[in-house]
Amino acid sequence: MAKPRSSFGKDTGLQARMLLTLFLLGLVYVVFIGVLFAAGAGAGLIVIVALVLLLAQLFGSDKIAMATLGVKEVSPAEEPELHAIIERLCVQANLPKPKVAVIETSMPNACAMGKSKKATTVCATRGILQLLSPAELEGVMAHELTHVINRDVMVMTLASFFATLASLIAQFALFFGGGFGGGYGRNRNEEEDIMIVLLVSVIVYAISFLLLRALSRYREFAADRGSAVLTGRPSALASALLKISGTIERVPSQDLRKAEGMSAFFIIPARTKKSLMNIFSDHPPLEQRLAALERLESQLQSAA
């Protein structure tokens, strides 16, 4: 039997950028931990608080999101087509079947929630079910399932742990006047230490914020690619993205403001205006995603 050959090229560039981002993030965090230790005690409490927050985020965020978004689980009898699409993708990706849910809103979007392959919910809005053809919907669902396969929720939550910690310290220090070393009788030395910790925390937070946004964008590209690999139809996803983004910009902005906070979960961020700068965005611009999908399609067509 012939050696299995890939229909798509390698994504070395994307992987390199992702590893570089993770490395830089790690570097920032190592410096941060160093400073915390140098500053000595007092930081211990905050680390514990941050750990608790992290665990809560990891284990509770999907439940909170599901409650606030009005996610309703649907049975195969209610949504036969959506279930059939997801079942076939699960066979294809060798995944157990996730829970399938629908959000009753006209805004076309889709999301996947859950921290592991076993406990996942994929949702589609009513709007996206009406808007897309089965092949396009399959592309979107494959994108969401790739997020699950790649454990994106887990990776992003863990990667943002120290950023959360840094922001906590900065807020703590500002609100309580740097009082986490114990109020009275501080000497000048301690005051200086606290100022340094505060300053470093702010810087760490700023840098890691940008790095995390970059990481999030790379993972979107990876999920687009994963969808193309899974379905073998990159152009179907491209067509779906065009349809979705076209509609999102036409939806009244009041709906969008409500949905703004959830954009990290969605396939296309719920925003009307173009972001000021791409580096602040957690989703890559549509043109870049379409260009990447076009490259995949031409790789597929010329694979010989």
């Binding site: 039997m1 299995p4 890939s6 076939r88 294809q92 060798n94 790739t146 139809r233 694979a303 010989a304």
Partner: protein, 195 residues
């Protein structure tokens, strides 16, 4: 999936598992003689048809091969696309001579030529159609990724309902001869099977 794959979000689609397709060629004898579940002379293979000229030419070659090998046994081949964009290649044995062996050989010819062409990861499943004593359709589905079989019995007269009880009975009857998918949540239904 390794740590590096998780960190970089790299994902490749798995190819077929070690082939256990031919287990059906011995299991059907037990099904027929002991449980009155008779083969209906039809089988199908389901895969994602890539919209590329190379894949299409692979398919054309393959159809010729299957038609040629099937001419001795009288196996006919037809293809159709379902509404989800998957292609069904249906193998049909003439009435009176329903041979599961011939069908399995035909299905295997299709799957191995797809694999040889380098598209093994596009294979979804193979379906063999049977009928029990009460004229109820019983399907045996072979999942290429897993290398396991499972029974699928659509409930008679009801839309998109399956008879899980009957499926579990069949599993108990045949589990010693057919490698049955151990995880029940992977017994994915296939609605609108054209055979």
């Amino acid at each position: 999936m390794g740590l590096r794959d998780i960190l970089t979000g790299r994902h490749t689609v798995q190819g077929p598992a070690p082939d256990r397709l031919f287990a059906i060629t011995t299991a059907y004898i037990t099904l027929q003689s002991e449980h009155q579940i008779d083969p209906s002379g039809k089988a199908a293979i389901v895969f994602q048809a890539l919209a590329t000229s190379e894949f299409e030419s692979t398919l054309r070659d393959m159809e010729e091969v299957v038609t040629a090998t099937g001419s001795d046994s009288g196996t006919k081949v037809s293809t159709e696309d379902d509404s989800y964009g998957y292609r069904w290649m249906v193998l049909h044995n003439p009435a009176g001579a329903p041979s599961v062996e011939d069908l399995a050989v035909g299905i295997n010819a299709v799957s191995s030529s797809i694999e040889t062409a380098g598209y093994g990861e596009r294979l979804l499943c193979a379906v063999f159609a049977f009928e029990d004593a009460r004229k109820q359709r019983v399907y045996f589905i072979y999942n290429y990724k897993r290398g396991y079989w499972y029974p699928f019995v659509p409930a008679a007269g009801q839309q998109q309902q399956r008879s899980t009880e009957r499926e579990l009975q069949i599993k108990a009857q045949i589990a010693s001869e057919l490698p049955i998918e151990p995880e029940l949540e992977r017994w994915f239904p296939l609605w609108g099977i054209p055979i």
